[in-house]
């Protein structure tokens, strides 16, 4: 009976056939499709579009066509003095901030490794700065650095020390930003190092102690080599983040005084949105992307070599 029905019914209405059958067969693709579409829309398309924009001069007037300039926007990078200033400032900030964060984070982790296991709340307290939104951190430090009413100058005044302009001083502005960043992100390095230290094997240390190795020797020959993968990851993440610095500079100094704190992200933002030149901004963004990829690849290679 069933057999004869199947022979006369339209294909789409047959049990296990038509739309239902097709849906069952392609269900996995259908389930994946929204994710893939979102991925395409949010990452692939903007990336391709950025490449396309980087080789055009885009007028803010929508009635004017995009003008193809080839590598023109990239060539501008070579002669743009403001870009060079931003590049130099970004390099200074990244090297100084990440080095300080690493040294302090590792030092704190080594000092507090055993102690902190008994005092969990201390770990929580140390985590607070990195849990705060960057904008809140920036505003907090702006109030601390405020020359006339800020707490820092109040302390300086009470101690009889000369008050400073901090973020407003051409010689202290970058230092002020680095201090705020170190305050926020040292706990991140500290936590990673702490996790690394907690996972170290005990036996090599026992053997080293039996051989009479000093604490310094143990640190240099055992701890550091064991921690190398964690250190590499921590530094990689911090360098990538430091290259994108924006919030602190935007709130604390706006890139000044005298361009001393203008960093790449801030300059790209200005070019794209204040000067309405998205083509050139796209070229600069691609440059930053290129630098980040080169640095990351180099780091990864070093990490693999260490292993």
């Amino acid at each position: 009976m069933l057999k004869s029905d199947k022979g006369t019914m339209p294909k789409s209405l047959r049990p296990g056939g038509g739309l239902e059958h097709w849906t069952e067969r392609h269900l996995r693709y259908l389930m994946l499709a929204p994710t893939v579409l979102i991925l395409l829309a949010l990452t692939i398309f903007p990336s391709v579009y950025m490449f396309y924009a980087a080789v055009h001069r885009i007028s803010p007037n929508p009635d004017l066509p995009w003008e193809f300039v080839g590598i023109g926007n990239f060539a501008r990078l070579l002669t743009d003095a403001q870009f060079h200033v931003a590049l130099r400032n970004t390099a200074v900030f990244t090297i100084a901030a990440v080095t300080l964060e690493f040294l302090l984070g590792l030092g704190l982790a080594l000092l507090l490794d055993r102690f902190i296991r008994r005092l969990g709340f201390l770990k929580t307290m140390l985590m607070i700065p990195m849990m705060l939104p960057p904008i809140a951190v920036a505003i907090t430090w702006k109030l601390i650095y405020e020359p006339q009413f800020g707490v820092l100058n109040e302390i300086m005044f009470l101690l009889g020390l000369p008050v400073q302009a901090w973020a407003g001083d051409v010689n202290l502005a970058m230092f002020s930003i680095i201090v705020a960043d170190v305050w926020q992100w040292t706990p991140f390095i500290f936590l990673l190092m702490l996790a690394g230290l907690a996972s170290l094997p005990v036996e090599p240390y026992e053997a080293a102690a039996l051989d009479g190795a000093s604490s310094w020797r143990q640190f240099w020959d055992l701890t550091l080599p064991f921690l190398k993968p964690v250190i590499a990851i921590a530094l990689l993440l911090r360098v990538m983040d430091a290259l994108r610095l924006f919030d602190l500079v935007f709130i604390l100094t706006g890139g000044g005084p005298a361009d001393r704190t203008k960093v790449l992200s801030l300059y790209i933002y200005q070019v794209a949105y204040r000067f309405a030149d998205p083509g050139y901004a796209a070229a600069m963004s691609l440059f930053v992307l290129f630098v980040t990829i080169v640095l990351s690849t180099w780091f990864m290679k070093r990490m693999r070599l260490a292993e």
Binding site: P62, L252, F275
Partner: protein, 419 residues
């Protein structure tokens, strides 16, 4: 079945989200702060009166420009009206983002805005300045004034400062006596817009200007510019340490806290200075037009103006709202909400001027009428940035004032393609 229902629900929700902005009859982009708050309140009144829906999108100062520029460049039509700072007008108008209002005025049976508006307030709403068609209507009548503590200035031997020399004389004495805790002058030295805004009145009052009259030549590095720079540097020397990073808040706070005796500032700070909960200087701050240099003093005009976005789909509704919001009655309500007016009748309204909080109105009206617009150029944001960097360097002392002028001249020539 459940899967189909969920799918249908998701599609419907997406459609609703996409068309949500279309529900409003007019959408207005306004800045944060008193200017935006005032127009937002007016929009709510209008919506209630007309039984219509007026959406206001409020954003920080810089983001209003960015969002407006994005909406204009993409012809999105997401905003019908934009409340613009007046130096943005050339950028928006010359890039085709703003609607020419001529035909709308004709449709309303008038030639243009009425004569009750201050002439300088109307001049900025035409593009080119004071000669082209109207592309906006003035709403908030900002122009810089000179704020000073009259008692302190009197102590320093200056009864009422008329010139920058008077200001310098008093400020120098007061700073010397202040022992590092009190200063005769304070200004916005922050890189970019702040330092440029506080330099331009001094620049103009010494006969200097950024371009020649027909905008064919950059004229920053001139003897007049050097004279202005000399006064600016002298003022820096009597200002607090760290003034290189000061913006309006720091300057306003210094005056309200009584730690500085004078500054150039915007009129919306009057409300703060006269509010006992925010100021130690209630009733003690005097207001005057910008002091003279070698030429009469001139404020920087900083009006907030309403324009219709060219891509708007509700242009007539937007125009009707703008006409209503700028009537004398509504401008008076706006003034009571803390926004300086743009109409003579409101400036001279006895009901307002007899109140302490509006005692600066005669001075402000004089300041507007003696004001100068920031150089009208579609690349003004870029020009201002370049000029602001060099001024910031001069204020910070990393380059000489002469170098700052020379570098500014070169930078602005490069940006504009002028010599």
């Amino acid at each position: 079945m459940v899967r189909k229902f969920c799918l249908a629900l998701a599609v419907a929700a997406s459609a609703l989200a996409i068309s949500a902005s279309a529900w409003a009859d007019i959408t207005i982009l306004v800045p944060s702060g008193s200017e935006g708050d005032g127009l937002r309140a007016a929009a709510a009144d209008y919506a209630k009166m007309k039984n219509t829906k007026v959406e206001t999108v409020q954003a920080p100062y810089a983001n209003v420009f960015e969002q407006g520029a994005n909406a204009g460049a993409t012809k999105s039509g997401v905003f019908d009206i934009i409340l613009m700072d007046d130096p943005w007008i050339p950028f928006f108008a010359e890039n085709g983002h703003l609607e020419d209002l001529t035909s709308y005025f004709k449709g309303a049976g008038v030639e243009g805005p009425d004569n009750d508006f201050l002439s300088k307030s109307l001049a900025i709403c035409r593009n080119p300045y004071n000669s082209g068609p109207y592309v906006c209507l003035p709403y908030v009548g900002n122009a810089q004034m000179f704020f000073y503590d009259a008692a302190k200035f009197k102590e320093a031997g200056v009864e009422s400062p008329k010139t920058w020399d008077d200001v310098l004389k008093a400020a120098k004495t007061l700073t010397e006596q202040g022992g590092g805790r009190y200063f005769g002058y304070v200004f916005r030295g922050g890189q970019g817009n702040p330092v440029v805004a506080d330099f331009m009145p001094i620049f103009w009052s010494h006969g200097a200007d950024m371009f020649n009259a027909d905008r064919t030549k950059v004229t920053i590095d001139t003897p007049e510019g050097a004279a202005a720079m000399k006064v600016f540097m002298a003022l820096r020397d009597v200002s607090p340490k760290g003034v290189e990073s000061y913006n309006a808040n720091e300057v306003g706070t210094a005056l309200a806290a009584g730690t500085a005796a004078s500054s150039i500032n915007w009129p919306n700070w009057v409300a703060t200075f006269e509010d006992p909960s925010q100021s130690k200087m209630v009733g003690k701050i005097s207001y005057s037009p910008i002091p003279a240099g070698t030429k009469p003093g001139s404020s920087e005009i900083g009006h907030w103006t309403m324009g219709i976005m060219a891509a708007s789909k509700n242009k007539q509704e937007a125009f009707d709202f703008m006409m209503w919001a700028t009537t004398a009655e509504q401008i008076k309500i706006s003034a009571e909400r803390g926004n300086p007016p743009v109409r003579t009748s409101v400036f001279t309204d006895a009901e307002l001027t007899k109140q302490e909080q509006f005692r600066h109105y005669p001075v402000l009206m004089e300041a507007i009428q003696a004001s100068t617009p920031r150089p009208r150029h579609p690349k003004w944001p870029e020009i201002e940035n370049a000029f602001g960097i060099e001024l910031s360097k001069a204020v910070a002392g990393t380059i000489s004032p002469e170098e700052a002028l020379k570098n500014s001249q070169a930078a602005v020539e490069q940006i504009t393609g002028l010599k």
